[in-house]
Assembly symmetry: C2
Homo-oligomer: 136 residues x 2
C-alpha cells in the first residue's frame, strides 16, 4: 500500500512496526499527545526525548524527535504550521507527555484537505469496522 492509499484511502492498514523500529534503533523517547488547548481536539501523536522536551520548554513551541529521520523536529519550521505551547503535562507513570498547544495557522497535519489546506488534525477518519474507514 502506497502512502496515498494509506493517508487518503478508506481501508484500515495499521502500521504495527513503528514502535519496534524505535526500540531497535535505541531511541529513548516517550509518546507525546498533541492537543489543541482551546478546542480539545487531539491533533497527532509524536515522540520526544530529553532534547526535544528541553527545546519545547525553551521555545514554547512544539518540538519533537523524528523517529524516522532520527533528528530533532521543530514542528512547522518548514511548513509554517507551528504549534504554540500553552503547557506540557505528564501522566501518572511518567512514560508519556501531553503538549497542549494552539496551532498558529490552524493546520496541524502534513496532509491536505480538498481545498489544499493542511488538515487541522491527523485523526480525520473513523473506523466503521475492523477493515474500513470513513472520513469524519
Amino acid at each position: 500500500m502506497d502512502t496515498s492509499e494509506r493517508e487518503e484511502g478508506t481501508q484500515l492498514r495499521l502500521e504495527f512496526d513503528k514502535l519496534g523500529k524505535i526500540g531497535a534503533r535505541g531511541q529513548r523517547v516517550v509518546p507525546v499527545v498533541l492537543q489543541h488547548a482551546e478546542t480539545g481536539e487531539v491533533l497527532f501523536v509524536g515522540y520526544a526525548n530529553r532534547e526535544a522536551l528541553a527545546e519545547t520548554l525553551r521555545r514554547r513551541e512544539a518540538v519533537l524527535w523524528s523517529t524516522s529521520r532520527d533528528e530533532l523536529w521543530h514542528k512547522g519550521a518548514t511548513s509554517g504550521d507551528r504549534l504554540d505551547v500553552v503547557d506540557v503535562r505528564v501522566n501518572c507513570e511518567q512514560n508519556s507527555l501531553l503538549y497542549r498547544v494552539v496551532p498558529r495557522t490552524g493546520g496541524a497535519c502534513h496532509t491536505k484537505d480538498a481545498d489544499g489546506r493542511a488538515r487541522k488534525t491527523c485523526y480525520y477518519r473513523r473506523l466503521t469496522n475492523a477493515e474500513e474507514l470513513e472520513f469524519v
Copy 2:
C-alpha cells in the same frame, strides 16, 4: 524512585525505557490516545494490537494490550472504570489510534485523588520547568 514518588511527586522523572521494551518483546502494537468524547479531555495513552482493537469494536468498550503484563487489558473490568467507546479514529499514517470514550464512572486513571476517587485523567500534573511538576 518508587511508584509513589513517580505518581504523586513533583519531580520530573521520565521513563524512557518503555518503547524499547515493547520493541525488544516483539509486541506489535500502536499507541492509542484515550479521549473523553464529551469534555475533550485526554485521559491516557495505551497500546493496542489487532486483538485489542477487535475486542474494542466488538464490545464498544476500551480494550487495550497491557505491554507490561503482555496480555489483553479490558479497561475497568476489575475497577469498574469502564470506558464506553463512541468511535475509534486513525491518524494519517495509520500508526496510532484515537479511542473517543465516555467513562462510565467518571474515573479513568488507576491513581486516586485526595478523596480516594480514581482521577478523571492521568495528566494531572504540568511541568513548571524541565525538572519540576505542579498539580493541575
